[in-house]
């Protein structure tokens, strides 16, 4: 009984130690990557290529998801708001939900699944097939040549993707609210404009998406670089990227929301 408890505590301690050690490694890795930032921007084509893979290739999924989420918000929001006789607030509700929360968060979750996993898999595979080592042997630092451009490509793409998600969501809400349900188009927009604040809602939303971009891409490049060089290692790392990035985004969202919207 006491022994079992002791063993449980020991395992908990070991798990904590491992987690903290890993976080330490990840932090040192991030600093090393950031030190190679000049390469990512001096050799712009490298970073542009990564923006293409992380951003452009995520366009379709982001715009479509945003559209559907906005349309669902329109339907559900209308149902609830009309119970209180305030269906003219639909535009406000849809837009605030999107720019404050759903845009940055859902876009970041999709980004983790679409681009984050791809980044991890690509770096992991390069490690598994000795490509990173080969680069190092050719006197080319893989952190500068491969990791830093991928990191910045992801970080730059994310705010644009979140804004696109929100914008297509607002359009989806407009389609349902005005075109389908038949609310007055003027009321829809003017109520929204009266309630949405540029500084508080839109700027904060963009800040959120930028933070999520850093978190997701950081986890993705770290997991890729830290992959155990086997086929199972790559698949496990890819899964870890999606799980860890999603959890981290949601946790960070809570913290940011507390600081941004408390007392409003």
């Amino acid at each position: 009984m006491v022994n079992g408890l002791l063993r449980g505590l020991e395992r908990l301690g070991a798990a904590t130690r491992k987690a903290v050690t890993r976080l330490g490694f990840a932090s040192r890795f991030l600093i090393a990557v950031l030190r190679h930032t000049p390469t990512a921007f001096l050799r712009l084509p490298l970073t542009l290529r990564e923006i293409y893979f992380a951003g452009v290739l995520s366009l379709v999924i982001i715009v479509l998801s945003g559209l559907f989420v906005g349309m669902v918000l329109g339907l559900q929001g209308y149902d609830i708001l009309s119970r209180y006789g305030s269906s003219e607030a639909l535009g406000t509700m849809v837009t605030l939900s999107l720019v404050r929360e759903l845009g940055p968060v859902v876009a970041a979750l999709l980004f983790a699944g679409r681009a984050g996993s791809a980044i991890t898999a690509e770096i992991g595979l390069m490690k598994t097939t000795d490509q990173l080592q080969a680069m190092e042997m050719m006197a080319v630092d893989p952190l500068a040549r491969v990791v830093a451009p991928k990191f910045w490509g992801g970080v730059i793409s994310m705010p644009f993707l979140a804004a696109l998600f929100s914008a297509s969501g607002v359009f989806g809400g407009y389609l349902v609210g005005v075109q389908l349900i038949g609310l007055d188009s003027g009321a829809f927009w003017s109520n929204m404009q009266a309630a949405v604040d540029f500084q508080l809602d839109i700027v904060n939303g963009i800040i959120k998406s930028a933070v999520f971009g850093v978190i997701v891409t950081w986890i993705a490049v770290f997991e890729g670089y830290d992959t155990k060089p086997t086929a199972e290692g790559v698949s496990a790392a890819t899964t870890r990227t999606v799980v860890e990035a999603s959890l981290a985004v949601l946790a960070a969202d809570f913290i940011l929301t507390v600081f941004m919207f408390r007392g409003v």
Binding site: V56, L59, Y84, V99, I206, V264
Partner: protein
């Protein structure tokens, strides 16, 4: 995938991403007309502000002319003091009445301005002297019940 193709696609991506941000800022956030318009501040003290929140609109004749910037409690009079930021192009007389109103039964709470006939105009730092507090539904209902009860009592006498 050649470098030129990638450049074009990234260009398109950044352009529509920026476009989305601009769309949100202008169409949804109404950036140009509200936040950046220069304005002046006046104060208004209310006995009870009800559900009024910062950033609530300030309207005159239904037109939004400004926003509530902050709400504090006066430690001496125990009145709520709302600071209203009003756009420069709108001027109001000194005897303007500020009242806290609700659009619809459960709609948004805003500050309504009713202009008086004074010669002098409100300027930065002035305090609106005539105010009308929020109508608190519970008090209203309570008063109504009390009236009903007393009239009933009168009938039975």
């Amino acid at each position: 995938m050649s470098r030129a193709t990638i450049d074009v696609w990234v260009g398109i991506f950044v352009a529509i991403g920026l476009g989305a941000m601009v769309f949100l800022s202008l169409k949804a956030g109404n950036l140009l007309t509200t936040s950046n318009a220069p304005g002046y501040r006046v104060e208004a003290a209310f006995d009870n502000i009800g559900g009024l929140k910062t950033r609530a609109p300030v309207k005159a004749a239904g037109v939004t002319v400004g926003r509530v910037e902050s709400i504090t409690l006066d430690p001496v009079t125990y009145q709520a003091v709302a600071t209203l930021r009003i756009e420069r192009q709108y001027e109001f007389t000194r005897d303007t009445i500020a009242s806290i109103l609700t659009s619809g039964l459960l709609g948004e709470v805003y500050v309504g301005l009713d202009v008086g006939g004074d010669e002098e105009m409100l300027a930065d730092g002035h305090r609106i002297s005539k105010t009308q507090s929020a109508i608190v539904l519970e008090k209203l209902v309570g008063q109504f019940m009390l009236n009903q009860a007393s009239s009933l009592a009168g009938e039975t006498k």
